[in-house]
């Protein structure tokens, strides 16, 4: 198994990619047991990695995903789809009974992905995921969820998602690092380049193609039950559209990051701004960086910021050896 991180951490091989609905049920049971005092809340991250070998994409599911995201149905896996394939493995770490934060209601703060090369839909992929860097945040406690995807022993995709458990304080001294978030500068919208019109059903449709049936995305009642104002768009739906629109024909390495600033309530409109900067070394690489902002024009509030950087094959191609 490839993968960075410290040596000696036990890796737990799962037979197959777990189902997300089962993980959410397990998380719900655990939350109830903790609430009534039947289960303890640990204060440290579990020292474990979860791994699944030989994951493959289903062509029909892949086509559905690509079409929902307005992306071309190529025989390559969209960068966000690699996240989707590996996501349940990462979630299974969060759903462990020795994981200190409550999975349900955790807020997705950001995603950063480094992809070394494009991945064909026929490739067999090995996934390993773990949690690290449990740390205090102004509004609670945050944690990084790291996922690595490899093909034939070569790492092709690394993703780091940051999650926030709102209102959860772990250990003494956590409050010391609290900052006031009110010093965030006022948002002034850039010149728009596009608009995403998201209907009320987009959360359910994205759940169907991604397997992420988190109730906060499905309907207003299920979202309100978990403390949201209403159903909100999946962060990865926004990320997938951002990446695909910024680089519609990726050919080599692809790096991107998205920071979620406020949830997109459904139905809703996200005004977007894409700004492309070409880094023309010799002008032939087609490499460049696109900065993206998504916001609500009505509320003058940013929903997310991000960037996508495309470049030549960063290794792993036949020519590079």
């Amino acid at each position: 198994m490839s993968g960075g991180g410290s040596a000696g951490t036990p890796t737990q091989e799962l037979e197959r990619v777990p189902g997300l609905p089962g993980l959410y049920r397990k998380a719900l049971t655990l939350a109830v047991r903790r609430r009534i005092g039947r289960a303890g809340t640990p204060s440290q991250l579990p020292d474990a990695r979860h791994a699944v070998r030989g994951v493959t994409a289903d062509p029909t599911e892949l086509t559905r995903f690509q079409q929902l995201l307005h992306s071309t149905a190529r025989d390559l896996l969209p960068s966000a789809y690699l996240h989707t394939l590996a996501f349940p493995v990462a979630m299974s770490v969060l759903a462990r009974s020795d994981f200190p934060l409550p999975l349900l209601g955790m807020v997705h703060l950001s995603n950063e992905v480094h992809q070394a090369r494009q991945v064909r839909s026929s490739e067999r992929l090995d996934v390993v995921a773990w949690a690290e860097d449990l740390r205090p945040h102004a509004a609670g406690t945050q944690v990084d969820l790291v996922t690595e995807i490899s093909a034939a022993g070569e790492r092709v995709w690394t993703g780091r998602s940051v999650y926030l458990a709102r209102g959860v304080r772990l250990g003494a001294g956590a409050e010391a690092e609290q900052r006031q978030s009110s010093d965030r500068p006022a948002f002034s919208p850039p010149t728009p380049t596009g608009i995403w019109r998201l209907d009320a059903g987009i959360g359910r449709r994205y759940a169907a193609v991604s397997g992420d049936w988190n109730p906060i995305h499905l309907s207003a009642p299920t979202a309100k039950a978990l403390g949201m104002k209403g159903a909100i768009a999946h962060g990865m739906y926004l990320a997938a559209r951002m990446v695909d629109q910024a680089v519609p024909a990726p050919s080599g390495a692809l790096d991107w990051r998205i920071d979620f600033l406020s949830p997109v309530l459904l139905p809703g409109r996200v005004t977007t701004s894409f700004t492309r900067t070409r880094d023309d070394g010799d002008g032939s690489s087609g490499a460049g960086r696109t900065d993206v902002v998504g916001w609500s024009a009505k509320r003058r509030r940013p929903h997310f910021t991000g960037w996508v950087r495309s470049g030549q094959d960063a290794g792993g191609s036949a020519q590079n050896g």
Binding site: T191, T193, G194, I195, Q245, S273, F274, T275, R276, A297
Partner: protein, 438 residues
Amino acid sequence: MTDQVQAHNAPSTPRTAVVIGGNRIPFARTGGAYAYASNQDMLIAALDGLIARFGLQGERMGEVAAGAVLKHTRDFNLTREAVLGSALSPETPAYDLQQACATGLETVVGLSNKIKLGQIDSGIAGGVDSASDAPIAVSEGLRRVLLDLGRAKTTQQKIRILATLRPRDLSPSVPGTGEPRTGLSMGEHQAITTAAWKITREEQDQLAYQSHHNLAAAYERGFFEDLVTGYRGLVKDANLRPDTSVEKLATLKPVFGKDLETPATMTAGNSTPLTDGAAVVLLGSEEYAAAHNLPMLANIVDAEAAAVDFVSGEEGLLMAPVHAMPRLLARNGFTFDDFDFFEIHEAFAGTVLASLAAWEDEDYCKRVLGLDGALGSIDRSKLNVNGSSLAAGHPFAATGGRIVASLAKTLSEKGGRGLISVCAAGGQGVVAILEARN
């Protein structure tokens, strides 16, 4: 009619392609006089008038090229079907072309190139569009279910497929003017460009006023008598407001750009309305025109297409002609001073004004167009002298034919050289040069 084998060999140097004449039906506002006429009906109506005017009954033309932007799937061979429904020889070949609002101009460019190369001696170019009789499709969900049902073999499979149908799948899907990759309508895109170039409401209203004024004056002096054939009771473009004024235009409420940080300036008065109509142009070699005793209004000199990256916001959606223009001028050794007439399609008043501003902007021309300095200014008295789309309306694919025929006639009357600029959806644009023959 028997096939005649051409005696001459294809010429090794391009020959001249000329505009012989044109014909269109008056443009109607959507839901108006042509509400129930199909694209094919209107294209045939425009062809009928052209055939009658130039005595083309039974003629086997080299080729007919036309297109429509809003097109039904049953119209896969729209132009050939129109030929079969016309008085032209049924042995006249035809093809459909689609380049959004540049469709009409591009058919002229394509056929004139074939004439120049000696592949054909004559051709009819044009386009048609109906916003009234627009295709309505079933929703994507229902379409999938129907296609899957067709492929299902057992009743069980069929039931399973039907069960996936959702109530929302039953509402139809109507074509919009939104750009597929940005979700913004053409007007919203133009509003961004209009604001970026700081084009004022007053300038836009003034241009719209001028368009109505010029078109009305052209009708008044009979300019369109041999360019337009009445249809379904219409004898003039229904959108024309001869009595409009800058004051009246100033009372209209803005419709685009209301979400921007800058004041909204684009109204229904300085934007083109949805329109129905058709226009065709008769083209030929000099030999063909002479042999058939037909007039030669103008030569088709050259054309250039361009496209811009509007998806990333690098350039405005309708700014592609701004990029095509310096390339076309350089190839032909011309500057704006070499032209007597400019036909810049008025998709929106802001489009024309932003284009003019861009060509006058030294920094932009250097930085974006890669020129040594500003491309130049266009004398407003030479611009759209017989009115343009703001007054006439803009049935997308018909606009190119309208412009080419009007400019060719102007050049035959006044002499000189004319420049055409047409912007199109998808960040595209086509520009072309026409020249008087004397």
